[in-house]
Amino acid sequence: MNAFEPDFATSAGAVDMTHGSGGRAMARLIRDLFHKHLGNPHLAAGNDGAVLTLPPGRVVVSTDGHVISPLFFPGGDIGCLAVHGTVNDVAMMGAKPLYLTAGFILEEGLPLADLERIIRSMAVASREAGVAIATGDTKVVEKGKGDGVFITTTGVGVVADGIELSGDRARPGDKVLVSGTLGDHGVAILSKRQNLEFETEICSDTTALHELVAAMLAAVPGIRVLRDPTRGGLAATLNEIAQQSQAGVILDERAIPIRPDVAAACELLGLDPLYVANEGKLIAICAAQDAERLLDVMRSHPHGKNAAIVGEVVEDKHAMIQMRTKFGGARVVDWIAGEQLPRIC
């Protein structure tokens, strides 16, 4: 550092237009915040892109934009969410996630202390997940043109031969599993929304799932579908899979794990937990004969201890999700119309 430069005082300052101008302020922001916390040889090289050496296998790429409000929520923040979200998308293809890229849109006026907290959180999350943030970009927009910060991350991973995961592979007779309680993330976010705050100990479940996925694939390499039920929850994700596979699913409401406090919050707010977002859960579909073994593996992993078999794939030319209710009747679990909760991830 130049001895005449004052310290980069993140505690007092805020993002201004110069931080996106390409000038010295931007260079310092990148060096003293991004490189400092996310530091790795790729970033340190300071080039326009990163040159990556990948192990053998097929390359998986996935990208995800994060616009969550509020930026900080019980159990996480937009920083770790941006890492987990993309790591999980890569993992749902059966791949080991290796690298991330990160694009930041900063709003003028965002406190630098908040930005530093977010970047630190990204650093911790990416270190824990074993992925390096290899390259990135920063832009600043005028006040009122953003909402603090938006982060887009792209993940790169490698999938081993023999693993064939895809939403169109569900077959009648297959079993549907979930890795844990549903709706935690959405309800945690909602509990902190302006004009809706309520007291709760519910935390977001945001976490990286690739290690759970690796354990599952080691035990049952023939898993047909993996997907993380983020926006739209279990209901939307299963509807997507049903469409892709042109098959129906029958769920058993009694088997679906939902925390009592999440169920209560949803009851109070008129939400259906099946449609509420998750950030640390996955849906797996596998052949019936593999289901119990897969369930055992999931339950013995910390991120899958509440896993359950919740339904079965059936022949259905309408590709609908139906549910046997606890009450003893049946209902359709449809696509959601409109938006149950905007800006949840």
Partner: protein, 386 residues
């Protein structure tokens, strides 16, 4: 969930189903109108119909506040936001209801109108406090349940001297609507709609009590059972109605005793009486003009009446042609009788209000019921049969 799960018990449901089947084994059909959308929603969401014998039919009533609001009033709300430039605060359900030429609040918002979704009248008041240089209008809709909170907001605004807050009042009354349905030619003369009894409103009754239904139970000789919104409430109330019908009684009974008292909530009634007075008539979607069926803000609170504060233009409001919402709201048709249902009209692209609100019969049919197969494997709707 304590106090909730008890009312969704599968074991009790099976016992009640057996009792209902036994009571209904008379060789006749039973047509029960559930007045409230809350009941419609519970029937579909929990699959209550699957537990009923085939001769017990639910006729869906007009008790969905979003559904019964006429297009004209919605167009007025859009005008308030667009032409008068107010911050329009609305309950979320109203956002997607199509007005004339498919114009909804959500479209107006996308085009730049300042329309904000609120969860309570208190949110609207806060917006008024936070924006003293803007006019803030609360788009008040609903039956007797949502009226007291609107009254509270108006009284509070007056007490605090909040001068930029007003209410576009569309509160309507349940007993007047039920009476109107019973007097309609479809029920009285043509016999196209059979109603043997009513599942009475639950939350509404917690405010107005059970007494207001006594008159028409007697006058029209139709039993009423005030029923809670949980699925076991619906089943227990169905059993009580069947018993009344079989014994040729026509009384007002209260299944929802854990909440509803005969006299209702006197404090809420007094508050509503202080702030509102009867309109001599009000237009309902589906029911047409119903005398003494809605409330307006009293002269003493005129400063908070958006209809007095802003000059709303005369306009020609039109519903979508061939939308059967009106007949569905009267119980004269089922959603599946409408040729728009599931073709042009879906929750993603609603043509009528009944497809928008989760309490609307069309939305309930579509969301929970289409492609449904009965317990015996037969198709429950034409979509399921195709």
């Amino acid at each position: 969930m304590k106090y909730i799960d008890e009312f969704r018990s599968h074991d009790l449901a099976e016992k009640l189903a057996t009792a209902i089947t036994h009571e209904a084994a008379t060789g006749r059909d039973y047509h029960l109108m559930e007045f409230c959308g809350g009941h419609t929603h519970a029937i579909f969401r929990y699959g209550v119909q699957d537990l009923m014998p085939p001769n017990v039919h639910f006729v869906h009533g007009p008790g969905c506040p979003v559904c019964v609001l006429p297009v004209r009033r919605l167009d007025d709300a859009v005008e308030l936001a667009e032409r008068h430039g107010v911050i329009l605060c609305t309950y979320g359900d109203m956002m997607r209801v199509p007005g004339t030429k498919q114009r909804s609040l959500i479209r107006a918002k996308a085009d730049g109108a300042d329309i904000r979704m609120v969860y309570s009248t208190q949110d609207a008041l806060k917006i008024a406090r936070d924006n003293p240089d803007r006019e803030v209008v609360f788009f008040a809709i609903g039956f007797e349940t949502t009226t007291p909170p609107t009254a509270v907001a108006i009284v509070q605004a007056q007490r605090e001297g909040i001068t930029n807050f007003s209410v576009f009042c569309n509160h309507v009354l349940t007993p007047a609507a039920i009476q109107h349905i019973l007097q309609s030619p479809e029920v009285r003369e043509l016999g196209t709609v059979t109603i043997d009894g009513f599942l009475g409103p639950s939350h509404v009754s917690s405010v107005i009590g059970s007494q207001p239904y006594e008159f028409f139970a007697e006058e029209f000789q139709k039993p009423v059972v005030i029923a809670g919104f949980e699925p076991l409430d619906v089943m227990q109330s169905t059993l009580m109605l069947l018993r009344q019908i079989n014994e040729q009684r026509h009384e007002v009974e209260n299944e929802y005793t854990r909440v509803v008292k005969p006299e209702g909530n006197l404090k809420a009634q007094a508050l509503v009486g202080d702030v509102f007075e009867l309109r001599s008539e009000f237009e309902w979607r589906g029911l047409g003009t119903v005398p003494y069926s809605a409330l307006k803000i009293r002269e003493s609170y005129a400063a908070f009446d958006a209809e007095k504060r802003f000059a709303l233009s005369e306009k020609v409001s039109r519903e979508v042609k061939s939308c059967e919402c009106p007949a569905i709201l009267r119980g004269a048709k089922k959603p599946t009788d409408c040729k728009l249902f599931g073709t042009v009209c879906t929750p993603d692209n609603p043509m009528g209000s009944c497809m928008v609100s989760s309490e609307g019969a069309c939305a309930a049919y579509w969301t929970y019921g289409r492609f449904r197969t009965n317990a015996d494997g037969t198709a429950a709707t034409k979509e399921a049969a195709e």
